[in-house]
């Protein structure tokens, strides 16, 4: 039998029961999962001894996702993520766990919110890492079908996630990433996409990001068509000092679709953050 070093716990924060997993010690590295998925996406980072030697890696499940239940009364309302809710959740979680100037790394919706954090919370954070970051994504399909009684939401969400990955990523990891999507609750993926494709448009403000206060690293998989390398390039064109790398052969879920390849891009970034 092999026991992984990851430990999972529940934190009660402002009336919500938040599940999180952590491993390692040192600089706090808070990891944000993608829309409609959960913290399991970061399992390989949590299990990487080279990372956890110097970093306390923490991945929480947002409310409605993974093992974090929706708030009481969920049956009476639609879930719709907004910039304000998302920012409060991240900063509230960091405060509750007394994380001192954490590094925050987020993918997709998480890659978007790190740009917001760079604008509003730069002084509280040691560095930001955006995976598949873009300032906005126009809707190019109708997400209402992902939350429809006549379409199996898990199957539909899984099929959408499937396509966003690279055909070069290993089959086992790709299909596990799909499985996480298939386990999402009804309307949760679409609720996150409200932030991603409607409310969370920050194209007008990213020029104000000051990377001298908080360094910003951007890593984008070349096979992603939701937040494509071109979308991230558009961010770097306006954010002075942002460091951008295209991840060859990776797609929209680098940390879970091809963990080994992703870690080869992540470790040098974490080394740079540590030494600066």
């Amino acid at each position: 039998m092999k026991l992984e070093p990851i430990v999972g716990r529940y934190a009660h924060i402002e009336g919500q029961r938040i599940y999180f997993e952590e491993a390692g010690q040192g600089i706090p590295l808070l990891c944000l999962h993608t829309a409609g998925s959960d913290g399991r996406q970061y399992r390989a980072v949590l299990n990487d001894a080279q990372v956890t030697k110097n970093y306390r890696v923490i991945a929480f499940d947002m409310p409605w996702h993974g093992k974090s239940s929706p708030p009481a009364g969920w049956q009476n309302q639609d879930y719709r993520l907004t910039t304000g809710m998302y920012t409060d959740l991240i900063m509230g979680f960091a405060r509750a766990l007394a994380l001192e100037r954490p590094v925050v790394m987020g993918c997709s919706i998480g890659g978007r919110i790190v740009l917001d954090l760079a604008l509003k919370h730069a002084r509280d954070l040691r560095a930001l890492i955006g995976l598949q970051s873009g300032a906005f994504v126009e809707r190019y399909y109708d997400p209402s079908w992902l939350d429809h009684p006549e379409v199996h939401g898990g199957r539909a969400c899984g099929a959408v996630a499937y396509g966003l990955m690279s055909p070069l990523s290993p089959e086992t990891e790709r299909w596990e990433t799909v499985w996480h999507y298939m386990q999402g609750g009804p309307g949760v993926f679409t609720g996150d996409l409200y932030f991603y494709q409607v409310e969370g448009d920050i194209r007008g403000r990213i020029g104000e990001i000051d990377t001298s206060v908080c360094p910003l690293y951007l890593l984008t998989g070349e096979y992603d068509y939701s937040a494509s390398p071109r979308d991230t390039e558009a961010v770097t064109a306006r954010v002075k000092g942002a460091k951008f790398t295209v991840m060859k052969g990776l797609g929209h879920f680098p940390m879970s679709e091809n963990p080994e390849a992703f870690l080869r891009y992540l470790r040098p970034v974490l080394d740079q953050i540590r030494s600066s």
Partner: protein, 118 residues
């Protein structure tokens, strides 16, 4: 390429299982050429080549021939590797009953990508 679809799908139980509740006809268009695929419990029972004069289908997926050729490369380039990638770039159109398409989306994606393994 499309002509080989029925054999490629029907010989692959891993694809057939994703569509085993599907009993529908859908259209695939490559440039000016139309095809109707009739699916019976995940197998492609009939693959007919147009032109058609008066036929019904649940949904249609239309793209230029060159787009399908890029889509069917053994290792497609970024942006050409998925139906929704083509959708984002405006190189495919989904018409008809979107409910049926979205209900069987994973199967449809696997079916249309099958020529990559030919």
């Amino acid at each position: 390429m499309i002509e080989a679809l029925a054999r490629l799908v029907n010989d692959d139980p891993a694809i057939v299982r994703w569509g085993r509740r599907m009993n529908e006809t859908f259209m695939v268009e490559a440039g000016d050429t139309q095809y109707l695929l009739t699916v019976r419990e995940g197998k492609i029972e009939k693959l007919e080549k147009g032109p058609f004069t008066q036929r019904s289908w649940a949904f249609a997926i239309r793209a230029k021939r060159e787009a399908w050729e890029k889509f069917w490369q053994k290792t497609p380039a970024p942006g050409w590797h998925d139906l929704f990638a083509l959708l984002r770039r405006g190189d495919v159109a989904f018409e008809g009953d979107q409910r049926v398409l979205m209900a069987y989306l994973q199967y449809v994606k696997l079916v249309l990508a099958a020529p990559r393994n030919a």
